[in-house]
Symmetry: none
Subunit: 207 residues, 4 copies
DNA sequence: TATGAATGAGTCTTCATTCAT
DNA sequence: TATGAATGAAGACTCATTCAT
């Protein structure tokens, strides 16, 4: 029983990377169960056999992919904050509105890119404990990052952790509506401004 | 081509029901793909064969289960509102708080019962159009119900559709946290009261 | 293990007959393996269960049907001869041509009615010895009948058995062409007159 | 949706061939429906899985087998003619008798080899249009070949297409009698000479 | 290392037959 | 007798994984 090998040569590493990238992509796109190992091999332009030298099984490809892309796929907010906190010094009410606006825009963009990935990811997280834990740790990282961001901007919230989660949920919810669902009678712009209004209220009138 | 039979006898109907109930349960619990037809047969205490007299295929069991349990599984809020709008005449600020509290409590309870179902359902909804439509129509029904409820209580909102969706999202998010996730450092009670505060703000100070 | 019952009551006999008739019909039409027992039950307007009180298994229905319809389905020539030898007294050359013409016309008609039955029957005959024997005995009966017919008409052939088979084959072949195949470039009328010419030659110029 | 693979390596090609050969053999021998995929795999000494890498489904094995063996199985006459028309220059009455004799001998031999295949093939041809078409095109090829053969030998027939079909039918009929049936009271030698006499008459005294 | 042909356990589904009513 | 619901063995087919080269 050959242990999965961690490749050293540059070429081999690139190959392993390609398997993860393409495999994870396919699984997110079409679903874990509808993606076969030969499919992955073909997409990554490698042979079926080599996959089992780098990975114990199909599941491991998914996990590897998730670990690698977790932050950007699950929590695009992270990148937003990363790029934000460098440029901003102090924020006032108008700044908050601008930041929120930018945050939402980028999050929507990111959702649009990852398309079908989210539901698939959520279902895997629920079906598989290890995968669930990856989610949790990513979420934790993001929560911390938001906290840091707020701190840097001298925004002191009561119950920051809880508020951050709520804010995160509000933005996610808006994104889902915009990217996936489109319910009857809903106006995206209206929903967006309502969401921003709520968040602003939470941050500013913190009482 | 054997058409699926619709059973008449009481016993047969009960059997069909058991297949739907147990099958849907297993699929929600362990995942659609990890639930085999023999598994379902065993759980429902019937033979494999009978399943295919009542259902075209495995997918139909899931859809049937979804249709049947959609409202209670997906949108437990519905039941809450059903029982609320009969008893209430006019609401003031305190009433709203009480209603919200009750809404949340019942929604959490319901989520607890359905356990792992939600993510599985969402992933199916995303993978299968027909299933997705069942979701949408249930959501629509719930939105309307909330609207009616507000109307009856003389609560006039600007942008009611959007606000209702946001409220629905907030409650769902809280439930997920409570029932499934439990993030590090989070306090449920605090999150709950923050959510209620936000909703109250949305409903009362509608400006 | 309940032995198959031979029904006495008029009603029951009619039911059994209907099963044979409709079952055999379906099997000939759609193929033995593509005809299910429930299909037969439905077509005969009886319950599935009752079939197994009259017949050991599906195969027995086929055999019963074959026995019953063998002569008319397999060898429509029989009926032709039955109706011919009554009316004819002596034959001359012209009579032979007329008889042949009538024989062929009726045989074609019969094939048209039985449509797809023939190939199915042949394949069953080949797959199942007992069924094959039914064929053989029917063929024997027909050969004898043709012999009697010739005798009655004072047509004495050398090697009558062999000639009769050849004649039978020629007519069958023509019928297949007319009813089922229709090869490119073939003219039915021409083929027909060629076949008649050959047979006439066999019968008249018997040297 | 795994596309069927066309093997390149010599070994793989041999394996695919073995599946076709053995599978087709079994299907002809025991019937299409009585031959299971595992049966075929066992007979070809391969795994079940590999079958579905080379063939879309069971039916395709049959069709492939038919295509491959069609000419020799269905129309052994072809080979006979192929080997004949090279050697012959001009024919007289005696030559025709010799050629016919050889034709019949070889056709009987071929039928003996293919054994039970014919009825099975005919039933498949009737149940499946694509299979039927393979038959037809093979028949057409044979008809043309016979025509060419006659032409080369300066035998000009009136209504050649129809006559060729009749000849073909006569030979087939004789072969069936010899190889499969053996009716009571029939003498093969006698039948054979009668058939030859008829054909000779058709070809020579073409009037 | 890499290939891709090969494996075979496991899946969904069908249907001849039985059996409780 | 008659029903038709129920059975479960067996079939076609898939796919994660292995292995000869």
């Amino acid at each position: 029983m050959p242990e999965t090998r961690i490749p050293k040569s540059e070429k081999a590493v690139a190959k392993r990377d390609r398997i993860i990238e393409k495999g994870f992509e396919l699984m997110c796109e079409n679903g874990y169960y509808k993606t076969s190992t030969p499919d992955i091999a073909k997409a990554a332009d490698v042979s079926t056999g080599i996959i089992y030298q780098y990975f114990k099984d199909k599941r491991e490809i998914f996990i590897e992919g998730l670990k690698r892309f977790a932050d950007s796929v699950l929590f695009p907010m992270m990148d937003v904050l990363d790029s934000s906190d460098a440029t901003m010094a102090k924020v006032d009410l108008n700044d908050i509105e601008r930041i929120l606006d930018r945050l939402i825009t980028l999050t929507v963009q990111s959702h649009r890119l990852t398309q079908k990935a989210h539901e698939e990811l959520e279902m895997m997280a629920h079906a598989d404990e290890e995968i669930g834990n990856i989610f949790k740790s990513s979420e934790l990282a993001m929560t911390k990052k938001i906290g840091t961001f707020l701190e840097k901007n001298n925004i002191m919230l009561e119950n920051p952790i809880e508020k951050i989660h709520i804010i995160y949920g509000l933005v996610e919810n808006y994104c889902h509506e915009t990217v996936y669902h489109h319910h009857e009678g809903m106006n995206n712009e209206v929903m967006r401004s309502e969401v921003i209004k709520i968040i602003k209220n939470m941050v500013v009138c913190d009482n």
